[in-house]
């Protein structure tokens, strides 16, 4: 077991969730409760990372942030290092790749709050913010938690983008999934197997929890 790689994986998962969740809650709530022109287009935009091959995202990120490009050169001066091949670059890639995993479950959860409940809350004199905190939020929290867990689990499983944008730098960008790949090339099947089993257990647990939570959303609706 490559503990350093596990640490990088968990770190990446936590940072992705921490950065995406607040924005995701806001975006999911907006998409669920408001009608506006271009909404289907926006929903499609949110869903793109689901079907986009990871190499496409990796390609665009590498080209955009390469020190040979003006944006990349500026970032390098500001950050002191290139965005690619750094943990920060991984977080950027991971955040983009996980947008649908955060926004969609939250949007469904807020959509499941009946319109009459929201209207009743408004009639009681609650401001939008109070409505959100005391009525919609508590009803939608299984969906929010699902989003967090799914995003975390998905980040643990990222491979293509991480390899392209991060390289395989030990302690910085070598996540557990990359470490498995690395050990296989060293014909170290035992260690690769231990790490693969670990990721499998984590993935199954995450899905089991989201399944239980999903039933709770259904019951409340």
């Amino acid at each position: 077991m490559d503990w350093i790689a596990l640490r990088v994986s968990l770190s990446l998962g936590l940072w992705t969730v921490a950065l995406l969740l607040p924005a995701g809650v806001w975006a999911g709530h907006q998409l669920a409760t408001r009608q506006f022109r271009g909404k289907p287009f926006l929903e499609a935009l949110v869903a793109i990372p689901l079907i986009l091959p990871p190499t496409v995202l990796g390609f665009y990120l590498l080209t955009a942030f390469s020190p040979r490009s003006p944006l990349g050169a500026t970032l390098e001066t500001v950050l002191g290092h290139t965005l690619a091949f750094s943990f920060t670059g991984l977080v950027v890639a991971s955040v983009i790749a996980n947008i649908p995993f955060v926004v969609q479950p939250i949007q469904r959860a807020f959509e499941a709050v009946p319109l009459d409940v929201r209207e009743a809350a408004a009639c009681c004199g609650l401001s939008p913010w109070q409505r959100f905190l005391r009525v919609e939020g508590p009803l939608a929290w299984p969906g929010i938690l699902t989003a967090a867990i799914l995003t975390f689990a998905h980040t643990l499983g990222e491979f293509g983008v991480v390899l392209m944008v991060g390289g395989s730098l030990p302690g910085q960008t070598r996540t557990l999934s990359i470490a498995i790949y690395d050990r296989m090339q060293a014909f170290d099947d035992y260690r690769a197997g231990v790490m693969a089993a670990t990721l499998l257990v984590m993935a199954v647990s995450a899905l089991a929890v989201t399944h239980v939570l999903g039933r709770r959303v259904g019951r409340r609706g």
Partner: protein, 261 residues
């Protein structure tokens, strides 16, 4: 406190504790050295020896020479690069990313490899492969990708010289680097492949099959050049020097490399 707030609080505390535990400082203490995949085992051994003799560690990242060159040009924080040829090292020198032209550190060889149970007998050399092809018994044959792996380029040269390249096309499996090619070559689905001698000699591959050297007259020599990159620090400078000294050279020789004088 409402039940939601209590759970949110618990969750937030757990989250922060875990984040703190993981530490947010990802400053790399050991310098990183990039090396061609044929050095997967040999360089790991040399680095271990260096850590014992020098007291400092270097971290190793392996890949095909072409991919690593691309990464270095894209800003990867390597301090030293051991290429499997000279052209990729020279490319970096021309781009102004190295201290100097670098040093020739080894000359590599390719081998014909067959996993246990394969109908291919490496002792018969490429003639044996030709015979299998004629009898339609070749399923898959693995080499490294000639576009960015020098060992793949050498494999292509040897196969072309023997007149097998075109016939072998539909059967070829290309590894992203020569280590992956070796991986493919040892699976049951391939009759074998052409991989690096240094990989075939590795302990981890000993019981997986048989192999035989392909004469170096069949391809351009695999002259392997290493370079110090612009950001190289003192530890890597010592590692660079260490690679040219007796202990490291002995390890390279054990892994089948010829050494320049």
């Amino acid at each position: 406190m409402t039940i939601v707030r209590r759970w949110a609080f618990v969750w937030a505390v757990a989250f922060l504790a875990l984040a703190r535990l993981l530490g947010l400082a990802h400053a790399q203490k050991s310098p990183i050295v990039a090396a061609a995949s044929d050095l997967n085992f040999a360089l790991a051994e040399i680095a271990e020896q260096f850590a014992r003799d020098d007291g400092q560690r270097v971290e190793l990242v392996f890949g095909s020479s072409g991919t690593l060159t691309r990464q270095i040009r894209d800003g990867a924080p390597f301090e030293m690069f051991l290429s499997a040829d000279e052209t990729f090292a020279d490319e970096l020198t021309k781009a102004g990313l190295t201290r100097d032209r670098g040093t020739l550190y080894a000359i590599g060889r390719i081998v014909l490899f067959a996993p246990t149970g394969s109908p291919l007998n490496p002792r018969e050399g490429l003639d044996g492969l030709a015979r299998l092809l004629a009898n339609g018994r070749v399923t898959r044959f693995a080499i490294a990708n000639p576009e960015h792996a020098p060992y793949g380029r050498a494999a292509e040269a040897a196969l072309r010289k023997r007149g097998l390249w075109n016939e072998l096309q539909p059967h070829l499996v290309l590894g992203e680097n020569v280590s992956q090619a070796a991986q493919f070559a040892t699976t049951g689905n391939a009759v074998g492949g052409i991989i690096a001698d240094s990989l075939a000699l590795a302990p981890n591959l000993q019981n997986r099959g048989t192999y035989a050297l392909i004469p170096d007259s069949e391809h351009a020599p695999l002259r392997q050049r290493m370079v110090l990159l612009k950001r190289a620090g003192p530890v890597v400078e010592r590692f660079y020097a260490y690679l040219q000294q007796a202990k490291a050279r002995a390890i390279l020789e054990r892994y089948g490399f010829s050494l320049p004088k």
